[in-house]
């Protein structure tokens, strides 16, 4: 085993872990989700309200895909960084989305 420091430099080691299937699957799924949303909107496939709800669901699924297939969400050795950063991300996301909705409705005078 190499010393502690070498351990940390592993990021650019050529360690062999076999073919990264999960990345390929993640890539395909995320592309499918993206193009599904695009097609639904372009084709006016559903009534307005339903459409909004569906692409919202697709967006949330997209986040899940990113977290599990690319962000190594489950490989949680090491300290509590995962939890902390997820909590922080959650707070910021809520602030930005809720804040934007609040700002962009202009006191209820805007319909979307």
């Amino acid at each position: 085993m190499s010393s502690e420091h070498h351990e940390e430099l592993r990021g650019f080691h050529g360690i062999h872990r076999g073919f990264p299937w999960s990345h390929v699957v993640g890539l395909v799924v995320s592309l499918v989700l993206t193009f599904a949303a695009l097609w639904l909107v372009q084709a006016h496939a559903m009534p307005h309200g339903l459409l909004l709800a569906v692409i919202l669901v697709l967006a949330v699924l997209q986040i899940v895909v990113q977290l599990f297939f690319f962000m190594h969400f489950l490989e949680s050795y090491g300290p509590r960084y995962h939890v902390t950063s997820l909590a922080l991300a959650f707070v910021f996301t809520v602030c930005i989305i809720a804040g934007s909705l609040w700002i962009m409705t202009f006191g209820g005078e805007q319909t979307y």
Binding site: H5, H6, F12, G14, V91, C95
Partner: protein
Amino acid sequence: MHLPGYVNNVATPFFVTGDPMIYASDVLIVLTLVAIVFVLTYFKKWGWLWREWITTVDHKKIGIMYLIAALLMLFRGGVDAMLMRTQLALPNMRFLEAEHYDQIFTTHGTIMILFMAMPFIFAMFNIAVPLQIGARDVAFPYLNAISFWLFFFGALLLNLSFVIGGSPDGGWTSYPPLTEWPTDPGPGENFYLLALQISGIGSMATGINFLVTILKMRAPGMTLMRMPMFCWSVVGASILIIFSFPALTVALALLMIDRLFGAHFFTMLQGGNPMMYVNLFWVWGHPEVYIVVLPAFGIFSEVVATFSRKRLFGYASMVASIMAIAVISYLVWLHHFFTMGAGPGVNSFFAISTMSVGIPTGVKVFNWLFTMYQGRIRLKLPMLWAIGFIPNFAIGGATGVMLAVAPGDYQYHNSYFLIAHFHQVLIGGVVYGMLAGMYYWWPKMFGIILNERIGRWAFWVFNIGFYVCFLPQYELGFMGMTRRIYVYPAGMGWTALNLISTIGAYLMGIAFVLIVWQVLYSIRFPERDVTGDPWDGRTLEWSLPSPAPHYNFARIPTVTARDAWWAEKEARRRGEDVQKELRPLEPIHMPNNSGRPFILSVCFFIGGFGLVFEWYWLAILGGLGVMLCLLLRSLETNTDHYIPVEEIRRTEAALGRL
């Protein structure tokens, strides 16, 4: 509005034509290029350039390249500023046309924020962070090189617009609907969108890189609460980068889709909403100002402690305020568009959250003052800039709180009051901070201490010039002068103040020349730093020789206290027998150099250029190049090497450290 005769931006000839100033620059650019090629060929330096710099993954060299680029961009943005101030010096000036003035304030703002301030902070990250935490490089050295080259080619793309295709002219904020295709055709805005997008990928990667570096690569014993304050500020800035840049990416991408592919996200037609762009832009834009100012705060903390010979006052409260600023800065973005009409509830909320940023910032200012209190202050150049910063930031902060009063902002908004305010914090905070950092770490980078005497002149001329330039602008704002106007009539009572302001701008220009002169003079008559610790420093970078060997630490130090290097020196001064390093040297594991980050970024540049001109075959070609580079990297196995003990011993012996 496009004035007849100034339609060159619209008709899109490939090379910008029609203005003698641009022809002059064309000639200068060609001459400079020829000179560079000649010098490199004549002195047979091409190989050296490739091996030592272009392919390097060494954080110290990448830091130096960022620094050079930032200074060049400070020059370019500064020339823009001088041109604008010349045009505004007197009423009814006929120096710049309207169209030209628009382009200049746009490139000035864009370059200063994204291509001067950002690379300058990244220069400081790279130069200082690994050395301060006792690491041998950053977590992802290859990615670090990619970040630099993406920034470099993004900056090149924007600057190219000056002579090819025409510059963007929609302001550094680039608000639609003005910047939509029908109202602003031509490649100018495309240059803006793609240059920012490309360099933005690099910034994002840098944020991730340094956060991971600091969390994962600290020397044994260096707990988070023993870290130098600069590293804490980098943590804050990196978190802000990671969470805010995506908003910019989205805003720019949607606007680009509107412009290139005829979508309607931000048009006035077909359900588009330009106000959403404004919202998204500032979701990034406000954190961005803290991204650039937090590292400056970090540098001031290091400098003030070192040159007062005291430990930093209120360390824990400093950390807390950095983190508080990082979080609060996500809750304030609307203060950039109070006048958009979101209503009293929204405006009140964002006004109060904005004012609350003043609390942690105030804590920091008092901590610096208390650090100096009863310290043995040495007014070296870094300290001079740090002290110059404090009154600057006090005024900038106070006027910031004035702007945060939403009803008041309806008066100040987009006036010269605002211009004066943000220059006060951006120059007084960021530029002063980066210059302090540059002077502070220059010996560590190059082994040379910059000449004190010329540096003092530069400081005083700049500092005086700063107040002469910007204090009158507060008054001009109250008198009704709005920003982004290229000409004003006589008889408004604005003339004297504008003239004074222009004189101040020239003084700052002279100060910049003095700094260049100082650097050249110091290279010619160097005062060498042979100790590695010219300022009697406190943190680990000063335990190394100047410049540090490429592996930084022959043995990774073990940290037992905050201000680790100071603690060790104190122990020695007390005559304690500081335990001599007994661990044997071990082979050091280092990443290999690679030319691929450079080539990858060239491909990004080619693809970006193709999109700017809507030459889709070129864009696709660039994109394929990018993918090929990524693929080759994924298949690469030989990415690192070991430095043998013998070589380390030889290097250390040559540095007198064995």
